[in-house]
Assembly symmetry: none
Homo-oligomer: 196 residues x 4
């Protein structure tokens, strides 16, 4: 009958936050940020609307936290060794990792892809990850240059287009789009280009 300890409370909060955020990712992905209601999210999370507001001070805040949380997770995956050099091997690893992360978080990426197209919501979210992303692009740029590729900028555009196009088609129809096949195809393309 003694009251819960601070640790117990913290664990409850942390676990419930995760439950809510996961529920929200699902509903946002299905209905879009604006189309999803807080009631739906609470219901999917198995809690009352009121409690959701105990954990997140608004629907907007909930979205921000989801993005922030995902960004933090992805940082870890992609933070390259900071020697400033990206080898061809690392590049292939990066591509594969990229697809793996998407496959493991389809709903998150669906949500994120929709946000990218929605300026009015996009401006709500932090863009810390943009910098990491830009750094990575820079490393790939250097790799392409070192590998004797002529039109480096064009090749980078092609890379981002292929990858983003594959991801968008996959998250739009995860049960039908053959993501593994396109992944192989992209890797194959670069195997030739980077003439390992």
């Amino acid at each position: 009958m003694s009251p819960r300890t601070v640790e117990q409370y913290e664990q409850i909060r942390s676990e419930k936050r995760t439950i809510i955020m996961n529920a929200a990712i699902e509903v946002f992905a299905e209905k879009s940020f604006q189309g999803a209601s807080v009631s739906m999210i609470a219901q999917k999370a198995g809690i009352s609307k009121g409690l959701l507001y105990n954990y997140f001070k608004s629907k907007e805040e909930l979205l921000k936290e989801i993005i922030k949380n995902a960004a933090d997770t992805i940082y870890q995956y992609f933070d390259p060794n900071h020697d400033g050099i990206l080898t061809a091997e690392e590049f292939f690893f990066f591509i594969r990792k990229n697809f793996q992360v998407v496959k493991e978080n389809v709903n998150y990426w669906k949500l994120y892809s929709a946000l990218v197209l929605q300026p009015s919501v996009l401006k709500l979210i932090d863009h810390d990850f943009d910098e990491v992303s830009a750094n990575y692009i820079k490393l790939v740029y250097d790799l392409f240059e070192r590998s004797g590729i002529e039109d480096v900028e064009g090749e980078l555009l092609l890379l981002t287009s292929m990858v983003k196009g594959a991801i968008i088609q996959y998250v739009a129809m995860p049960d039908f789009f053959p993501i593994d096949k396109i992944e192989s195809k992209i890797l194959e393309y670069y195997r030739n280009k980077l003439s390992v």
Copy 2:
């Protein structure tokens, strides 16, 4: 002040419909279907809410009509000569036309791209165009096969990914993404493949 003829009336109606639909495309693209209010659309179209409902019986209907109308327009562009054969030249024309259409209707494609990611809204709209699209893919398939390309399916996946990836990046940031450059790059890629 002679009374207007039936034709005149119909033309007026048709023009106003277009004005409303264009306003709606803009607002939908900016705010998403759910985030856009009928008031905003009416205001942007320069008419009253009531009149909007005179032309479209609901917000949903308005969306459907936009999609249908765009599909009709695009039919015209892409309906190939029905001889069942797509030449390499026609293929290149098709790619170029594709990008041109996107560049001329950025907001429409932004809206459409967002819809593709939103199953709950997507199911509202007609999918007549899907068939045309599938036919076209079939023609490209045949062309690739005829051209001695080995992994035809993989190559098709790569094509749709590159194009969709380019489009999505462009509509997300039309002022910054170098769409012409990626267009050239894609064309170049197929110039090699199709060994014209």
Copy 3:
């Protein structure tokens, strides 16, 4: 069947605004700003909650408009002739007018008196009227000085206290507090002081 003219719409809006504001004054006076719900106000005004928001963009805004509107009305009563001189006669008239205005707008003054005690709400409202009020006090100050009153500041404090005390007691219990009697008493007090 022809649509309403702009004038007709303006009249409707103007009349309904007044109806809503009057309903709100009553409910605010009875329940306080925070204790009054928009539903109550709409019900008392005989309209739907939604319509209220067509006229006032928030409950706060409604309060502000009430205060502003009242201030404007009261300006007219009290704007003195701008010769910068207040005669004893004018002073008596001012006191009487003051009480009359309160008696004719009990609920408004009840609301206003409560607001004065509530800093968190008070800061929402404009204080344009404060200046007019300060000017008036200045004129009374001069009158008292001209009339040979010794402790002018003390006498001013006494004046505002008597008047405000009378008003507060009256608005708290309008059916029981003998406002006319206290009014006479105050006037009598100054008749002696100003030895007309």
Copy 4:
């Protein structure tokens, strides 16, 4: 670590009750009864919401207890010697005490003044003190009569108005309103009237 005695427990409870009530007075004065949340009060008291409900069974109950507690305290100050006679000296003492009590409990009086204007909340609270108050008025009435004052009722109205007006102005702006000056002024007024 000997177990606490019943007395110790009760003292602890009593002290905590006081802490909570003081916190509540502050928050009620700042935000009004309806605008203050139980969370704010608990936070200001430095305890949890749950514990607050251990001491007071509802927000309403907390308000009632505050009023009751204050009334009890004030009884002590003002319960006159029960000989049924109020001397002029005692009257002056009463006035001074009155202002002193207000100055020492600004927030309580601010809260109380706001309540007086709010019938819907006012009816929640006990009005035991009203009787004491009425008795006191009676004693003052007698004093005025004995002192040869002509319009006794009018003079009583003036008295309550002056005092309440001074208090209300003071509690509305305690840092600016010169309460000591108006206190002297009122005392002076009665020194003349009661021709001591």
